[in-house]
């Protein structure tokens, strides 16, 4: 079994290495596009939506003769088909439509974490709509990044509570998942736009994935801001180190071509850690026989080839390959090596892993164990956020904890430190523990079990009489010595 798994791994890596270094070219013959009917559209649309037409005309699509109908054509039987000036079209263009030409990208993307962005927040979304009581909140917020479940009304129009929407995991009327225009803004579909950090950071910023803030403060972000013109963003081939070297963008590390590593629209492929959960864990990549993929925590039982496994959307599928977290880290490292020395890269990875592991063992795991204990002993009501300690716990791992871990991943000292671990510690010692303590003796027992008795916490919690200059009350006296 072990031998066969390594054989598959080898095969997988071989496939990774054997493909070309830049994005797959469309291999279809040009006779497949430029539909006759589509030449009519701009007669009206230069008038009614001149901006769209002008973006399209300047785009690669426009120049290659790909016209409106190539993307917007529909069959009368399609649920979202509408009759428009004598033609049957659909307003919404799904990845399935794009995939008619961009087959490789569509396939890669359709197996990525991105397309499961709706399923991955089902619980949070329900909380937002049901508990906070207003579906309009989710339509204007969650769904704009994660994607809506697009609803076609019986009269063929798209329900405004679900459309317009370009969320990355949008569930489309044709059953496909995802939205290419989330990154490839319509109707210019500019390569440069998709390669720029802004393509990602319009969603990847703020509390739950503070990538924008972290990236901008990092060396990569600073170099990009000052040397954007040297990034060769419009080039056909865009391999790190070869076609550009001024800096790295989100795409560079998470998707881009680098050395022998080909570009890949499966954006989570190279990420070994899950950084935005209560406790971080490394995760394997499961590739199913239907070519969809899923992250699987390292602690979960390792599936063998052919095993049935539940997917994110609840359906079951057979496992084809398991790519271990280490391999994913290797792929990411390969990108780094285009510009950094081997030792620098491995040193950085150790610093990154060190912070995440420390966050886990010192704060995340004890806090989680205490919370579970509080619920188990019914010291808290099952309802979330109705007790102060629940809000503190949320801020601890979600706001500050996520920030700290992302700060370490992309080297922003500010976010790893003051806005990250500093706030984690502050919340843990000054809010979380006192709030737990206030719940009485059984709660205090939980603190003893999960914190005081753990070696990580014996540093200062157990030494109440040890003064420290750091607070500022005894500055200059070096009382710490």
């Amino acid at each position: 079994m072990c031998r066969s798994r390594s054989a598959y791994l080898f095969l997988f890596l071989f496939c990774l290495l054997a493909t070309p270094v830049f994005a797959a070219k469309v291999k279809l013959d040009p006779s497949n596009w430029g539909l006759e009917a589509g030449k009519e559209c701009i007669k009206c649309h230069t008038k009614t939506s001149a901006g769209i037409v002008s973006q399209w005309q300047d785009s690669a699509h426009g120049k290659q003769g790909v016209n409106c109908m190539d993307c917007h054509q529909a069959e009368t039987s399609d649920v979202d088909a509408i009759e428009h000036e004598g033609y049957t079209i659909a307003t919404l263009v799904s990845p399935k439509d794009c995939g008619r030409c961009h087959e490789v990208e569509e396939k890669q993307n359709s197996g990525s974490v991105h397309v499961n962005a709706v399923a991955s927040i089902t619980g949070q979304r329900r909380f937002m709509t049901e508990v906070m009581g207003n579906p309009a909140f989710t339509a204007a917020s969650c769904d704009q990044c994660h994607g809506s479940v697009v609803k076609v009304k019986g009269d063929g129009s798209l329900d405004s509570s679900t459309w317009p929407n370009s969320g990355i995991g949008r569930i489309n009327p044709d059953g496909s998942k995802g939205s290419c225009s989330s990154c490839h803004g319509r109707h210019s579909f500019s390569k440069a736009q998709a390669r720029s950090p802004e393509a990602c950071t319009h969603c990847h910023q703020g509390l739950d994935s503070p990538d924008k803030e972290v990236y901008e403060a990092s060396a990569h972000g600073r170099a990009f801001a000052s040397q954007r013109e040297q990034m060769n963003l419009h080039a056909d081939s865009w391999a790190a180190g070869k076609d550009y070297a001024a800096s790295a963008t989100c795409v560079t590390c998470h998707m881009g071509a680098a050395g022998k590593l080909p570009s890949n629209h499966d954006v989570g492929l190279r990420s070994a850690w899950k950084l935005n959960g209560p406790v971080s864990e490394r995760h394997h990549l499961v590739i199913f026989e239907d070519d969809t993929k899923m992250n699987l925590a390292e602690s979960a039982p390792k599936p063998a080839r052919g095993d049935l496994l539940k997917k994110v959307d609840g359906s079951e599928a057979k496992v084809k390959v398991l790519v271990p977290a280490d391999r994913r880290r290797q792929a990411m490292t390969q990108v780094c090596l285009e510009c950094h020395a081997k030792n620098t890269v491995s040193g950085f990875m150790q610093q990154f892993d060190g912070l995440v592991e420390g966050f886990n063992s010192q704060f995340a795991k004890p806090a989680q164990a205490i919370m579970l204990g509080l619920y188990e002993q019914k010291l808290l009501s099952p309802k979330p956020f109705d007790e102060p300690v629940e809000q503190t716990y949320w801020s601890l791992w979600h706001d500050a904890g996520v920030r700290a871990r992302h700060g370490a991943a992309m080297v922003s000292a500010e976010h790893a430190g003051w806005q990250g671990m500093h706030q984690v510690a502050q919340l843990f010692y000054a809010s979380f523990l006192p709030q737990v303590q206030a719940l009485g003796a059984p709660a205090e027992a939980l603190i003893k079990q999960h914190v005081l008795d753990q070696p990580e916490h014996q540093g200062w919690l157990q030494q109440a009489d040890r003064p420290a200059w750091v607070l500022g009350v005894a500055e200059g006296k070096s009382t710490d010595e």
Binding site: K43, C44, T46, K47, T76, E85, G154, D155
Partner: protein
């Protein structure tokens, strides 16, 4: 003396009959004109409650509230021009009255909405068959030039083989998709959702197997 001498058979009685029938004829034509006029008004059409439901969206439309001050009333669009054509339309249209009295309960908003697509398709076909003649009462295609360059071209070269209704529909009444993409099942589900009915009720109502929910239209 009068050189015109009436033939023998034109007796006084005949002259009298001619004058009287002529007068009646004129009266009849005047009545027809008046009849066509009166039965083309919004006030007449909405004497049936079912038409009140259709008139609601019309009163929100630009054909009702035009900034130019012109208002198209029901008959302006739905009754042909000319005494004979208008009268014929009204005679044929009498089937609506028959259906209103003996057909499904169109006064019920649910029944009305379920039948709306069929009515829309029939009306669109009616416009198409007449080359959108009633649109052309007010709109002269040849001089539609708009404010932008392409408008003229769209309505001349671009409109070859087309008639107004081919492009300009869903302007006044409830939005109904084009017939070739219309999906009855999806429509039924939408109406059920709108009126909070169990799925499947719409089909039963259409077949007459279930009574529509007791709903009254909004009082004006």
């Amino acid at each position: 003396m009068n050189k015109f001498i009436a033939p023998e058979f034109v007796s006084r009685r005949v002259v009298f009959a001619l004058v009287v029938s002529g007068l009646f004829g004129m009266l009849f034509v005047f009545m027809l004109i008046e009849f066509d006029h009166q039965t083309s008004t919004e006030a007449f059409c909405t004497t049936c409650h079912s038409m009140e439901l259709v008139a609601e969206p019309y009163r929100q439309s630009v054909h009702y509230n035009s900034p130019s001050g012109i208002r198209a009333s029901c008959g302006d669009c739905h009754v042909s021009e000319g005494l004979i054509a208008a009268t014929l339309d009204h005679i044929i249209g009498a089937k609506d009255l028959y259906k209103q009295l003996f057909g499904p309960d169109y006064d019920n908003p649910v029944v009305n909405a379920l039948h709306a697509p069929d009515a829309a398709f029939a009306a669109r076909q009616w416009f198409k068959d007449r080359d959108s003649a009633t649109c052309r009462r007010c709109h002269t295609q040849e001089i539609i030039s708009g404010r932008r360059a392409d408008t003229l071209e769209i309505h001349s070269e671009g409109a070859k083989g087309k008639t107004c209704i081919d492009c300009h529909y869903n302007l006044v009444h409830r939005h109904v998709p084009g017939q070739q993409v219309f999906k009855r099942e999806a429509w039924n589900r939408m109406i059920e959702e709108e009126y909070k009915l169990e799925p499947g009720t719409a089909e039963k109502i259409l077949k007459g197997e279930a009574a529509p929910p007791a709903l009254t239209q909004k009082e004006n």
